[in-house]
Amino acid sequence: MIRTEHLTKDYNGRHAVDDLTMEIDRGEIFGFLGPNGAGKSTTILMLVGMIEPTAGQCFIDGIEVAHNPLKVKDIIGYLPEDVGFYGNMTAEQNLDYYARFYPMAASERSKRIADLLELVHLDGVTQKAGEYSRGMKQRLGLAQALINDPKVLFMDEPTANLDPEGVREYRDLIAHLSDEGKTILVSSHILSEVREVCKTVGLLVQGRLVAKGTIEDVARTLTPTEDDLMQIVLETEEPLPWIEDPAIVSLETDGNRAVIRATSDIRSRIVATLTGQGVHVQEISVCTPDIEDVFMSIYRR
């Protein structure tokens, strides 16, 4: 549904986005991760047809964006990071103005606006948008992004300014939209937020996509490994006997606890061996690095 081919954007001779090639399938909730200034927002602006790439192409539902920005805008919704509205108009008036750019009949427009205002809990609010709190603006931002019932939704830092209740509602909304078959791209520098809602993620650093896949895949890809060895932690009820296996490279034991470094996942073999020796295994697990730590190390680079 979303495809980029060698997408590049230069500002003052510097690559803001550098040779980005990726694909996001229909119905997927994709998290775009990366530190501030990594090129996430620039990529989204190219994908929504607001800026033209320096090189490369991007496609939404098979439509090349740079040459058909209006066709693309017809089928997408976009929530900018710093979403803004007309302060002299109510939420309904703001939405009505935006809705007029789409081929919608007045009755359809009216119903859609009412539904969306209810969805983001702004129905019955008579204040002008200029008097809104940042959280209310963010919720109205979600509503405007959905005004045309888009196939693809781009959300740049969507939970910024939302209170915990707002964040929970946002997560529910994303799940609901995903169930409707919409493709969603969420950009954020907050891993925990992306982790909550996204099935797959892409990590962008200095304009380059350094990893893509599930959070665990990306973390594993990015974890610094020593000779690609696997670390297995084992605890038993009885004192541990010496364990022998061709895959074991090193073994550190301390009473009934051991840390094994092996060339492959040999947990089932270890359990079988120990059980054969009458030793009861209390816990055995592969030690994975903390995902937050892995991403933080990338962010700090």
Partner: protein, 344 residues
């Protein structure tokens, strides 16, 4: 015409007509010009009565009655209105345009708007179109009120007068557009609305006040030293030759003609002076064909007969062209700047 343009234009039109800023300045313009027209109508009726008296005296073959003045025209009343438009029209134009784009950037609504299926040029064109329509309504209302006051005062304009009043309204509209388009340009390129307003005001002062002063000074420098009067050259009891005096008069006239032509050329850059010249051509055509800043023309006064259209156009074509071209240039630059605006 693109649908997006109409959507933007409609919103802008409604925003302008419902904005307190627009309504306050428009109300002031309406009030002041109505008072001016009312005062002008009274003066007109007095002049007309005086003209009728002179006619009656002339009919009585009174040899001491003197010459009969030209019949006064109700159009002269509008010369007062042009003075108010120079002031309030400028304020109105600037007020309508200085935050048209910058406010969208400040409130971050531009990015939200550009997420719609709308071309960028439809946004700036729509904003300009909506504002121009609001301005047109304001001016048409002001002129309609002025005509109503004339009728109330018992002055019934002729068909020719109506045509001239219509042209006056169009020219006034173009004048206001000069400062509206300047403000729009500044709104597009300035960082914020405050900077846009200050820059617009500075340029307004330069165009309306500094340019005429510069024009006068530059014309003086270009024209060189004025010819010396034979009277000041004469010493003691020596008599002044009539031929020398005539030659001096001719040289002086040529000197002032050159100086006047140069200052007029510089003054083309001032929308205020161009508008005043155009307004004069409509309300008092004879006055419009006299040379500006020329004491000889001032002493001679306007021609006794009303100049024909060709003569009138010959005197004001440059002003008319400049008045029309300036808003086009300002808008074209604003358009180009908006199309290149970085919306990150």
């Amino acid at each position: 015409m693109a649908a997006g343009l109409l959507v933007v234009a409609h919103k802008e039109f409604v925003d302008q007509l419902t904005s307190r800023r627009f309504l306050c300045i428009f109300a002031l313009l309406l009030m002041i010009s109505a008072l001016g027209i009312y005062g002008g109508a009274e003066d007109y009726n007095e002049n007309l009565a005086s003209y009728s008296e002179q006619l009656q005296s002339a009919d009585g073959n009174n040899p001491y009655s003197g010459s009969v003045a030209d019949k006064v025209s109700p159009l002269t009343i509008y010369s007062r209105m042009s003075d108010y438009i120079v002031l309030f029209g400028t304020i109105l134009g600037i007020a309508m345009g200085f935050d048209l784009i910058s406010k969208e950037k400040e409130e971050h609504s531009l990015k939200t708007l550009l997420a719609r299926p709308v071309f960028r040029d439809e946004i700036i064109n729509g904003k300009a179109l909506g504002s121009v329509l609001a301005l047109a309504i304001a001016l048409v209302t002001a002129v309609a009120v002025s005509i109503a006051i004339l009728l109330f005062a018992g002055i019934v304009p002729t068909l020719y007068d109506f045509g001239a009043i219509l042209i006056f309204a169009v020219v006034s509209g173009i004048f206001v557009l000069v400062y509206f388009s300047l403000a729009l340009l500044m709104s597009t390129i300035a960082k914020d609305s405050g900077s846009a307003l200050i820059t617009t005001l500075i340029i307004f002062v330069v165009l309306s006040s500094v340019v005429p002063i510069l024009g006068w000074a530059a014309a003086e420098a270009v024209a060189g030293t004025p010819p010396v009067s034979p009277m000041s050259a004469a010493t003691g009891s020596s008599s002044i030759d009539v031929g020398d005096m005539q030659a001096y008069q001719n040289e002086m006239q040529a000197y002032w003609a050159k100086r006047s032509a140069f200052s007029s050329a510089v003054n083309i850059l001032s929308p205020d002076l161009n508008y005043e010249k155009m307004a004069t051509a409509i309300t008092d055509p004879a006055q419009a064909v006299t040379m500006d800043n020329n004491p000889y023309s001032f002493v001679e006064g306007p021609p006794e007969t009303t100049p024909d259209l060709g003569e009138l156009l010959g005197a004001i074509w440059a002003n008319a062209l400049a008045l029309f071209v300036l808003p086009c240039v300002f808008f074209a630059v604003a358009y180009a700047a908006f199309m290149r605006t970085d919306i990150r």
